[in-house]
Symmetry: C2
Subunit: 388 residues, 2 copies
């Protein structure tokens, strides 16, 4: 595997997932069961083998190919998903371009803004993660390893803080920027939640200087934080937004007037994967039907409460979260990596982020009992690692 | 649809494909049947509802999610496809990174070469198409509309000709290039086939100046030309190659030593779509089992013969092709667009490319009877349009 996979990145643990699982639990190929606090990096909002998802794969079990050139040969699944998305986005955002990944969603968000403004400079934030393709990578700052040694596009990078937001006004007054791109809650860079003041300032100064604001909702969107989009917590509306992960496809969404003339953006497979598109529709409808936004808000508070208790016991640092987008810190990277490993040994899947954080991102369907089970494992792991 | 889809690009005809179809024929949602000479832009090598493909979707009809974070949580489908790919690539190419699209495959090919050489300048060709993300777009020259007004990475662009290949030596002797990227048969830019001498020169001078050669096989690869990879027709081996379209996923393939250190390249969904990965394996095995490489070579000659006859009758210009990657020209763009439209009216799906070319790219399973049927429709369309 190491040799075959040129992109091999040794995680803290190696697991081969089987196709068996139910709810928040998944089995590996050896038949071992895990409670999932990682949700395929937020790509799996409904857990394993949810009836609504199984209905989709069953429906397509006599369809081949499932993947078509969706910008040239239309399919109804494409239209259905765009319609469904427009029901859960702000009114001013009335058009979308569906694409193959989060990185491609960001690439197209940038392209739309470069073209719309006729400008060449982009502004992003420290610790941001927007993807690995060279355009998106130009605004990805979470780890030096990701971008060092590559030719990148012109960018200015701002501190992800209230002070940074203040400095943004100076940057925009001195430069003609094509866009400001921000994750309303930073993901890979450490699950950093901005203050209301910071986000309001970002929105105010981008409006003042007529610079389109891109909200990257690839990790934070699709209901994880208890709102459809994390920017809603801050009562702002961006000009352009991206989605992917929980959506199953990539999407860049904006007002139709932001999109460039026909032919400027396209993609062979964009909007052309019948199963992924139908799955996305089923996920949105299930989140509504099972009232999971409300559930995520409530369960987020429950789990944050549990993490805060562990913080009081000095077992962890900086418990934080919005809805089910939660995280906490360890004193060192080493301790973090060991806790992730210990969690795995005890049957809990977790993922690191930032320098020394651990994400707590269970599927939306998690119950209080399952939350308690996961937190109990984390407590055991913390005790073991901190004792060493 | 026009308003909802921000990436809407009005084709010469609008068709909504149903899931019904068999072999080279597909039905639209109104129940109209079409013979397919477009193969979802080479993404559909086995035609519609091929038993080997149906077996895959059936197999996964009780699996959800089908899409996982494949670089963190491994799945066997990922390993199986890498193993399968290594059986059909040159011996020196022994590792791969699976990714979400052709554009992303190219982005990663570029990243691998930038990092491997420590250089910043890339060299590409006129009329090339490598994708629409901003890195790949920097080397996409087939239409000005695609790249105009965007910030791009440093590039030198060479004429796609023997003279161009000669000039490449001068360029490489005067500049430190990170890579030379070429489509062994140009796709979107006009189905341009290089001469043996041109490709040999490109390979010779890139070797001489130790510049990695990237062969972009996204459209030309996976057996369409009658060899697994179009570069095999020219008896050359590149350092890095890309695949996508007929493969159902994106892939960048190279010797393991070309890949950067762990963590430099990655992707949430890369190598994580169970159905697409399993479909890719089934497609490779079916091409072998049904001896479709040989069939593509033979049918390519048959169809090229038919096109040459039409050329002799002065109904078309410049019939050309390698295997089932065929095309011909009309005198003007307007005539080309009209022939594509007339074909559609008569029940034949075709696609333009270049300035005034039409692609002839049926599924690999096409029979002589179906070829004759399609060519008959093309003949009728040509007669109608040229009479006007």
């Amino acid at each position: 595997m190491k040799k075959l996979n040129g992109g091999f990145y040794p995680p803290q643990y190696t697991v081969f997932l089987s196709r068996k699982g139910e709810g928040c639990y998944v089995e590996d190929v050896k038949g071992r069961k895990y409670l999932d606090f990682a949700s395929q990096i937020c790509s799996n909002p409904l857990g394993y083998n949810h009836p609504a998802m199984i209905e989709v794969v069953k429906e397509y079990s006599f369809t081949a190919p499932v993947k078509v050139a969706g910008q040239d040969f239309f399919i109804e699944e494409h239209v259905r998903l765009l319609e469904e998305l427009m029901k859960i986005t702000p009114k001013s955002i009335n058009s979308g371009f569906l694409i193959n990944s989060g990185a491609e969603a960001v690439e197209n968000a940038l392209k739309i803004c470069y073209k719309f403004t006729g400008r060449r400079l982009g502004v992003g934030f420290e610790n941001a993660f927007h993807g690995r393709t060279l355009g998106a990578l130009s605004f990805t700052k979470s780890k030096k390893l990701y971008y060092e040694g590559f030719p990148l596009l012109d960018s200015v990078t701002i501190e992800f803080s209230e002070q940074g937001a203040e400095r943004l006004e100076k940057v925009l007054s001195e430069n003609k920027a094509a866009f400001v791109i921000i994750e309303p809650v930073q993901g890979e860079g450490g699950y950093n939640i901005p203050t209301m003041k910071m986000m309001k300032t970002v929105r105010r100064v981008t409006k003042k200087y007529k610079v389109p604001l891109i909200c990257d909702e690839i990790q934070s969107g699709m209901g994880r934080t208890g709102e459809w989009w994390a920017f809603q917590h801050f009562k702002i509306v961006p000009e352009v937004m991206t989605s992917a992960k929980a959506l199953q496809v990539g999407a860049v969404l904006a007002n139709k007037k932001m999109f460039p003339e026909s032919g400027v953006i396209s993609s062979t497979w964009g909007g052309g994967h019948r199963i992924d598109l139908a799955m996305a529709v089923a996920i949105i409808r299930t989140i509504k039907k099972e009232k999971l936004l409300k559930h995520n808000k409530r369960m987020g508070k429950v789990i944050l409460g549990m993490l805060k208790e562990l913080e009081e016991q000095e077992l962890l640092i900086n418990a934080r979260g919005l809805g089910l987008m939660l995280a906490f810190d360890l004193p060192t990277k080493k301790a973090r990596d060991e806790v992730v490993k210990e969690n795995f040994k005890r049957g809990l899947l977790t993922l690191g982020c930032g320098e020394k954080s651990i994400r707590v991102i269970p599927p939306y369907i998690i119950t209080e009992l399952e939350a308690a089970e996961g937190i109990e494992i984390i407590t055991q792991s913390l005790r073991k690692v901190l004792k060493q």
